[in-house]
């Protein structure tokens, strides 16, 4: 019977598993995770979680909701700043339109994408002061890279027929951009903007940690003073608002792409 079994060979998956297991064990030892912690940690988490109930919703409506609204506003302004900056950059980054410029633009956008927005906020806070304005600038600048890259990819995939048509009938380069390129790419680019808005809501929620406004600072303070019922209100309201915005924004994105 056993002769019928296919011969197993030691493939890349086995080697990869061994390497990953070794890295994992090394990491556990490096952060001094003792086997005893395995038993202790779930208990600690459960104990703290039990303090979260019931949530202090009065605090939620008074203090948390305005902070969440501020996070939404930060994300909106940040996304808008990024959208305005990235649209021309995306045009220059499209290798089919500007073969020489595209390389440089793409390199810069790749570098800025590696930057977590919270690190940018660390620089903007001293410049424009503590508060949501610094957060919006950080979100805006850090979103430019990704929107430029996605926008350039959309523009690279367009149909060149309309451009040739505009130029054949005597239109300038600018006219070709306005009447042949933009109408083709705008729906998809707007969909990317909305998607980035969804990501930026989450990003702006944590900016409060470095004093750049929004709901993150509220959560940090409630946890620091161990007001777990108030922290629970932050979590509940954040989850509800983010889910709602994701649903609405996702629906609009589907409508734009399908129309």
């Amino acid at each position: 019977m056993s002769a019928l079994k296919p011969q197993r060979e030691i493939g890349w998956a086995t080697w990869a598993s061994v390497i990953i297991a070794a890295l994992f064990v090394w990491s556990l030892m490096a952060i001094q995770f003792a086997p005893a912690d395995m038993i202790q940690v779930p208990g600690q988490v459960a104990r703290v979680l039990s303090f979260f109930y019931p949530a202090d919703m009065a605090y939620g409506w008074d203090k948390v909701l305005p902070a969440i609204v501020e996070s939404i506003q930060i994300a909106w302004v940040g996304t808008l700043v990024a959208a305005v900056l990235s649209l021309p950059l995306a045009l220059f980054g499209a290798s089919t339109l500007f073969p020489k410029l595209a390389h440089g633009v793409k390199f810069i956008s790749a570098t800025t994408r590696a930057f977590p927005e919270i690190l940018l906020a660390i620089y903007f806070v001293p410049i424009v002061g503590l508060g949501p304005f610094a957060g919006a600038l950080a979100i805006g600048i850090s979103s430019v890279g990704m929107l430029t890259k996605l926008g350039a990819e959309v523009i690279e995939s367009i149909d060149f027929g309309p451009i040739e048509a505009v130029e054949a009938s005597g239109g300038s380069r600018i006219a070709a951009l306005r009447y042949a390129v933009l109408p083709q790419v705008l729906p998809e680019i707007v969909a990317h903007w909305l998607f980035r808005f969804e990501l930026n809501i989450r990003a702006s929620a944590v900016l409060g940690v470095v004093g750049a406004g929004g709901v993150g600072g509220v959560l940090l303070n409630t946890l620091r003073y161990r007001h777990f019922d108030k922290a629970a209100a932050v979590l509940v309201l954040t989850i509800i608002v983010v889910l709602a915005i994701d649903m609405i924004s996702g629906e609009i994105r589907r409508k734009i792409i399908n129309s």
Binding site: I31, Q32, E70, I74, T111, A136, L137, A205, V210, L223
Partner: protein, 261 residues
């Protein structure tokens, strides 16, 4: 001449005006809400340039002290990816419509996944730092949860698009549900799983750099202490270091991902 021109397509004015008005109102409301002002930005560029002068050149003498915390950051990212990657396998399978064990399980798992996805990485870090104390263990736990949120949703979608012939064949020869998943479903989606896991690792490396801002270990802890003391030439050093490290790890990871694809 004008008779030859084709008729312009009719525009849906109510929709355009409605959407445009909504965008404008939203922008004005947000802009005033956060105190957006170009003049403030322009006026403060002067103080900003003073800050930039203070933060340049970076303090290279500080570099040796960054290596240890950076390794801790990588360790946190590895643990988070491995633990989260393993946990997300059952969660993704049960959230795949074609493989799940039942409607109720599917519905509960799907919503659980969506709720996990709403909270940003640093929120998890703050929660775990409160629960188990400041340090890398909190960071590793936070990234585990974050990894589950990233991988399970993406992978459940690729599991839904597999060829169901294989799993049905396993069932037909008397295999159990687990055997169907193990031999019929997972091998088909293994490559996408690896690629999502690497993607999660990239996100985790980037996230683990800032976990320390809320006390969850890694290089962010040093960043937070130097920032609080306005040692901006050191802050710049840390951020440059982080940037280079993230870019190298991303290049490496996307090289492997491209090879797999």
């Amino acid at each position: 001449m004008s008779a030859v021109l084709p008729k312009k397509p009719a525009k849906n004015w109510p929709l355009i005006l409605g959407a445009g008005g909504f965008l404008l109102l939203m922008t004005i409301w947000s802009g005033t809400g956060i105190g957006f002002s170009l003049s403030e930005l322009v006026c403060n560029i002067a103080s900003g340039s003073r800050l930039l002068q203070e933060s340049w050149p970076p303090d290279f003498g500080f570099l040796p002290r960054l290596v240890g915390p950076f390794m801790e950051t990588v360790n946190i990212a590895i643990i988070g990816t491995v633990v989260g990657g393993m946990l997300s396998i059952p969660i993704a399978v049960l959230a795949a419509r074609n493989l799940t064990t039942g409607k109720i399980v599917w519905f509960a798992d799907r919503n659980f996944m969506n709720i996990l996805r709403t909270l940003p990485d640093l929120f998890w870090a703050m929660l775990f730092a409160t629960a188990v104390g400041f340090g890398p263990v909190a960071g590793a736990l936070a990234l585990s949860v974050f990894t589950v949120a990233v991988i399970s949703k993406l992978w459940s979608e690729s599991l839904e698009s597999i060829d169901m012939g294989l799993p049905e064949a396993v069932r037909a020869v008397g295999g159990s549900w687990l055997e169907m998943i193990r031999y019929g479903a997972i091998p088909q989606a293994l490559q996408t799983y690896v690629s999502y896991a690497l993607y999660a690792f990239e996100l985790n490396v980037r996230a683990s750099m800032v976990l320390g801002l809320v006390g969850a270990g890694g290089i962010g802890m040093i960043l937070e202490s130097q920032r609080a003391n306005f040692e901006y030439e050191r802050v710049t050093m840390i951020i440059l270091f982080v940037l280079v490290a993230v870019l190298i790890i991303e290049q490496f990871s996307s090289y492997i991902r491209n090879k797999l694809a």
